[in-house]
């Protein structure tokens, strides 16, 4: 009896000051089964060891990611395993930690590829780790799916790297279009985190998208550092330029400081955010000051229909909360990986052969119905999918406003 074991390496920070919204990284990998059943005991051993970083250190998202993975696992194994080439294989998941650092992501990927001999990796999530991690996976010819990374460089010219999220070059114009329509805005201002690739990339994309619309200029383009707490100087410059709205592609914890400070300085207009806002912690930290603001993200749990709703309701029943977008995208990434393995149509005990088969299997996926909606894949391994605009309601929940498709 062969086993396929999944190793999901969850990459968690030690240092919360370096944490981004994209809190937790998951790397998942499949170890090809050994006929002697050895791999299953090996994996169980890992599972215990890797449980170590407990929930208190990385609240919220770690749990949510793991929840999504565990739920998927129970589905597959509950049905007797994953069927590949007419035989059923049981799956096992393993969680691992990359400390949310770029170098740790590379080390984690290398360890998984070389020591654990995995055949595929899921994660890391955040572009800060997914860009270097994807490089390692590509060089070592191991298929990887990043659930949440939106930076183009993660998959660019890397045939072994895939993703489940849309890209910033898509997200930027979505924000620009929505703001122009909703606020009737002519001028825009941007405040971004100059030390965060995600924020810088999105700010640039937005700026060129806004200027391409020809409605008016980006009147202020200000930046701050990741650990800044006082934004009054930047905001004073922005407010003096009198923009119709302020685009803030920053992490939720910074947003929770920026919006109240802007109000204190007398700004009364609207803000727009990006998918880094999409965590319930935004409302916890920001409170009423963030109510009524809009941001672009991957999906909205409220207002979902069909198969998506079924998954959300099951998740809610089991864990007592709606899946956040990173949980939903993790779910999708596992789904994609399963699809890729099915397409591979074989299980080979040689990890190199299996990796190639899975990569080809993943590349063969033309479209996929995921929790946040269906998507198609282009030649870079990037999905073409819709984004949604979400409003922070007066009850502090994220309400679906509209869907924007490419």
């Amino acid at each position: 009896m062969c086993h396929i074991a999944w190793h999901i390496a969850s990459i968690v920070h030690n240092n919360p000051t370096e944490e981004t919204n994209e809190d937790i990284e998951i790397s998942g990998c499949i170890v090809p089964g050994r006929p002697d059943g050895d791999s299953s005991t090996r994996c169980r051993h890992h599972q215990e060891r890797l449980q170590y970083p407990d929930d208190r250190r990385h609240p919220g998202s770690w749990g949510r990611l793991q929840n999504a993975a565990e739920m998927y696992l129970a589905d597959i194994n509950g049905a007797g395993g994953l069927e590949v080439g007419g035989k059923k294989y049981m799956l096992e998941f393993i969680y691992m930690d990359n400390e949310s650092k770029a170098d740790s992501a590379v080390n984690a990927a290398l360890k998984l590829i070389e020591q654990e001999e995995v055949v595929a990796i899921i994660g890391p999530n955040s572009s800060k780790q997914a860009v270097p991690g994807g490089g390692t996976a590509n060089e070592n010819r191991t298929p990887m799916i990043s659930p949440w990374s939106t930076n183009p460089n993660t998959t660019l010219d890397r045939p072994w790297v895939f993703r489940a999220a849309f890209l910033d070059p898509f997200q930027g114009p979505v924000v620009a279009d929505f703001a122009a329509k909703k606020f009737g805005a002519k001028t825009a201002a941007v405040l971004f985190d100059v030390a965060n690739d995600y924020s810088v990339g999105l700010a640039e994309v937005f700026k060129s998208a806004w200027e391409a619309k020809g409605l008016g200029p980006v009147v202020a383009y200000e930046s701050n550092g990741t650990k800044d707490q006082d934004f009054s100087a930047q905001l004073t410059t922005i407010i003096a330029a009198k923009p119709d709205f302020i685009f803030v592609p920053e992490n939720y914890n910074q947003v929770a400081l920026i919006i109240p400070q802007a109000r204190d300085l007398g700004y009364k207009g609207p803000f727009m955010g990006s998918d880094a806002w999409g965590t319930p912690d935004l409302v916890k930290l920001c409170g009423e000051q963030c109510y009524g603001q809009y941001f672009s993200t991957h999906y909205a749990a409220a207002g979902a229909t069909g198969a998506t709703k079924v998954v959300i309701d099951r998740y809610k029943a089991k864990y007592g909360a709606e899946p956040a977008d990173y949980a939903a995208l993790t779910w999708d990434s596992i789904g994609l990986m399963v699809e890729g393995i099915k397409n591979a149509g074989m299980v080979d005990s040689n990890p190199r052969k299996m990796r190639t088969a899975i990569r080809d299997g993943l590349a063969a996926i033309k479209s996929f119905d995921g929790v946040p909606g269906s998507s198609k894949f282009n030649e870079q391994g990037d999905p073409i999918k819709c984004a949604v605009i979400v409003k922070v309601s007066d009850e502090g929940t994220f309400v679906f406003e509209e869907s924007v498709c490419p």
């Binding site: 000051t17 930046s223 707490q229 009054s232």
Partner: protein, 303 residues
């Protein structure tokens, strides 16, 4: 014009926090010749203490109004934070002093004590950021194009009052005289019948108490708390204190505001990437011209 005045107000508020923290560094340095690197983390502990005190007071068990809670939180935070500071002195610095350790070892101990505070907070409370409750109802005043909030006024006024109070303590009271005396000669002073350990405890009570106050005001102004919030601002406050002339109360006060003004000024003109580069280049130049700081006097006559 409005733009400039607004940025001056921004700088005054931000500089107030540097000044408040720098005062704590300079006070301890003035007496012990020790840069108490844990001070930034005592500030962080102060912010967390005020969070728990305030949350408890407005919580369902006590149920005070936010204003009432604020009035009680201020002294309680200061007392509890000064206890943390005194405890630190007792278990980390005093044993080394007793053994006659070189000051270098005490400074390293202070660095480690700061890390211990950060990581014990992390272990105890987790990396989850906390949202500080709103204690005083925020009022925004408009003067033409310039805005000001009651909280900002309170922060600036507090920094000035704390400075005046500490200046008075050090220069006008018997305790202050004893503090200055210890910095002159800590071996001769016990012979004069001055209880050196008690004076040092008083120094830590003052320094940590006001760090607690700064932590509370900071948490009210920037209501997102995390265990490493005191690290960077603490380091910058040391630099502010050194530029002002460490050991001198006036120096810490002026140095804190100077740093605040330079930082806000640089961000106003240049992208914020250059902020720390420019700010610390300017401070470096000041030290280059005046190595003992703006108000510092070379050698053993500080405080």
């Amino acid at each position: 014009m409005d733009f400039i005045i607004q940025n001056i107000l921004n700088a005054l508020q931000w500089g107030s926090f540097y000044a408040l923290i720098a005062l704590g560094y300079t006070l301890v340095y003035g007496v012990l010749r020790l840069i108490n690197f844990a001070h930034g983390d005592i500030f962080m502990v102060g912010a967390y203490i005020s969070f728990f005190v305030a949350s408890f007071l407005i919580g369902p068990i006590v149920g005070f109004s936010p204003m009432m809670a604020f009035v009680i939180t201020v002294p309680l935070t200061m007392v509890l934070t000064s206890l943390v500071g005194v405890t630190l002195e007792r278990i980390a610095y005093r044993p080394l002093r007793r053994k006659g350790a070189h000051r270098l070892y005490v400074v390293i101990t202070a660095l480690m004590a700061g890390l211990v505070l950060e990581y014990s907070n992390l272990a105890l409370l987790g990396a989850s950021r906390l949202k500080f409750p709103e204690l005083i109802e925020k009022q925004i005043w408009h003067f033409g194009g310039v805005t000001m909030t009651n909280l900002k006024v309170m922060v600036i006024v507090t920094a000035i009052l704390v400075f005046l109070f500490l200046q008075w303590v050090v220069t006008r009271t018997r305790v202050g005289m004893a503090m200055r005396a210890i910095s002159y000669d800590k071996f001769a002073i016990p012979l004069m019948g001055i209880p050196i350990d008690s004076i040092i405890v008083v120094t830590f009570v003052l320094g940590s108490g006001f760090a607690g106050l700064a932590g509370l005001l900071f948490a009210m102004s920037y209501p997102v708390l995390e265990p490493f919030m005191g690290m960077l601002i603490g380091w910058k406050a040391v630099i502010a204190a050194v530029v002002g002339g460490i050991g001198d109360i006036k120096g810490a006060f002026v140095g804190g505001f100077l740093l605040g003004f330079i930082e806000v000024g640089v961000v106003t003109v240049f992208p914020s990437t250059y902020r720390d580069l420019f700010a610390f280049t300017i401070l470096l130049l000041i030290l280059w011209m005046k190595p003992s700081g703006l108000f510092g006097i070379p050698q053993s006559t500080k405080i």
